[in-house]
Amino acid sequence: MRTRSLIAGIAASFALAGHAAAADVICYNCPPEWADWGTMLKSIKADLGLEVPHDNKNSGQTLSTLIADKANPVADIAYYGVTFGIKAREAGVVAPYTPKHFGEIPTGLKAPDGSWFTIHYGTIGFFVNVDALRGVPVPKSWQDLLKPEYRGLVGYLDPTSAAVGYAGATAANLALGGSLDNWRPGIDYYKALKKNRPIVPLQTSYARVLSGEIPIMFDYDFNAMRAKFKDKCNCVFVIPQEGTIVLPYVMSLVKNGPHPENAKKVLDYLLSDKGQAIWANAFLRPIRPAAMTPDIAAKFLPAAEYKRALVIDYAKMEAAQNTFRDLYQKEVR
């Protein structure tokens, strides 16, 4: 009878559910296509035998979820921009851990107790799909984007929530004469940019640049280079003339996570020679420079361009985030 076969079918799918692969380590913000976590997670599976599912939160969502989960953490490790790592430490959701090679990380790029530590960093600039520009010249400076020919062509991630969004805002502000205490140039810039009808997604929009939907995006060099060399698009990365910043991305061990021992193994692997080489291969600057091979280094823009990319006081950048967010929400409409 129909009911019997229905019940049998449902029972079978429950059985199927029981056999689904369980994860060994839960990562918040390990998206397969960002920073080539896809290859990294596969490599971890092959070398350490640990299953780490991918996850597509952004830095802000990662922090909020860690805070929401605080009483009963779901994640073991978290990946986010440096300012969010600092916040996470303040919120008490991460645990100190000093992995192997911790000593090789420069002082400003790690918490002394190991609550967060840089694994790689990128530079902010314009990720441009040249074909999608349909003849409009590739922009060279922040000011260029205010010109009418770029109307509707520019996108940037929400500066109040995504790490790359805030990094872009910080870069523009500093480049245009502001400082971490004075956001006026940056806010004025975004207000002017609004007139050019930018697209402001909440989450990664790598796909949209590739498809030509957003021809110019404030993004990192590694995303642009991945598009150019791996996905073979006619894309370029531009470091704006007025200057920009470098942003480190950090890892943390989550406090009271479900699988702490395995999590530590994964964190060690990310700083190991093999791990750092995977980052380099994905066009991220590994924190241990030895991992960068000459032929990959050759694919980056020349060093002269990178001189304009500054390392800044990230603790101060983090402290200023709320001020910036309030100003942005109030004035940029």
Partner: protein, 265 residues
């Protein structure tokens, strides 16, 4: 009777509406099967994007299927008896229950998910299991099952049938399973199709409730639109269509069958 100008105008209008709804679906299907969307069809047909989708998201597809089936099972057990009680004793209390049944549709999925996380998020094993998502799906789809069965119960005189069965000696449960359930089969099936369809496509609740281990198909879709190439997102959408369209066709056919039957009643 010849076709008037009014007929053709209205037909044209309806075809335009149809085009608005269907053309992007068609475009997306094509994009999922094309080598390179930007170049277009000239780049050639390929199944490799579907292969990539399978590699990355196969678990989400299975998960959506068994969550939908589990949701169906729970809504059958909870919903069919509830509809029967509502039909049997129309009164103040049942009116209240009907009001509450509307709530999961009225209150945005986001809010329901938030409420669930705040109340039950602390139980880690529950929070990280697919049961957490199941709860959300049941809350959202139960009203549809109840309403569907209730509609059928309201359309025929089931009390007389029950009375005749009672006069022949059938007890309460025998009457329910032997008379009421078989006669409401069309409502149960329509409700079942609705529940499964809604569960497979549910996003608002599931987006908030999911963890990396409990991603469903729509959550994976949102994922892929943001961070994968357009072709992968389109291929994934194609997989979703393949799953959902047979269900929708069955639902629509069943729905019109009932309308036709009710018309003759």
């Amino acid at each position: 009777m010849g076709r008037t100008r009014q007929f053709y105008l209205q037909l044209g209008f309806t075809l335009l509406v149809c085009a608005f709804l269907i053309v992007p679906v068609f475009m997306s299907i094509v994009a999922g099967l094309t080598e390179n969307f930007f170049i277009g069809l000239k780049s050639g047909f390929t199944l490799r994007w579907i292969g990539v989708v399978w590699e990355l998201y196969a678990p989400t597809i299975f998960r959506s299927m068994y969550i939908a089936l589990a949701t169906l099972a729970v809504t059958l057990v909870l919903g069919v008896p509830t509809a029967y009680v509502l039909a049997k004793r129309p009164g103040f209390l049942t009116r209240m229950i009907e009001e509450f049944l509307v709530l999961p549709v009225a209150i945005p999925g986001l809010a329901i998910a938030l409420a669930l996380i705040l109340s039950y998020g602390g139980f880690r094993d529950f929070r990280t299991s697919w049961l957490f998502i199941l709860v959300g799906h049941v809350l959202y789809t139960l009203p549809f099952m109840v309403r569907s069965v209730l509609a059928v119960l309201s359309s025929f005189d089931f009390r007389s049938l029950e009375e005749s069965a009672a006069s022949l000696g059938a007890g309460f449960w025998r009457r329910f399973f032997g008379i009421v359930v078989p006669n409401t089969r069309s409502g149960i099936i329509a409700g079942a199709l609705t529940v499964v369809t809604l569960s497979i496509g549910e996003f608002n609740l599931t987006w908030m409730l999911h963890t990396p281990e409990t991603m469903t198909l729509p959550v994976g879709l949102a994922d892929s639109y943001a961070s994968m190439r357009l072709e992968i997102g389109s291929a994934y959408t194609l997989v979703f269509f393949v799953m959902i369209i047979p269900l929708l066709i069955a639902l629509q056919r069943y729905g019109t069958q009932r309308i036709k039957k009710a018309g003759h009643a």
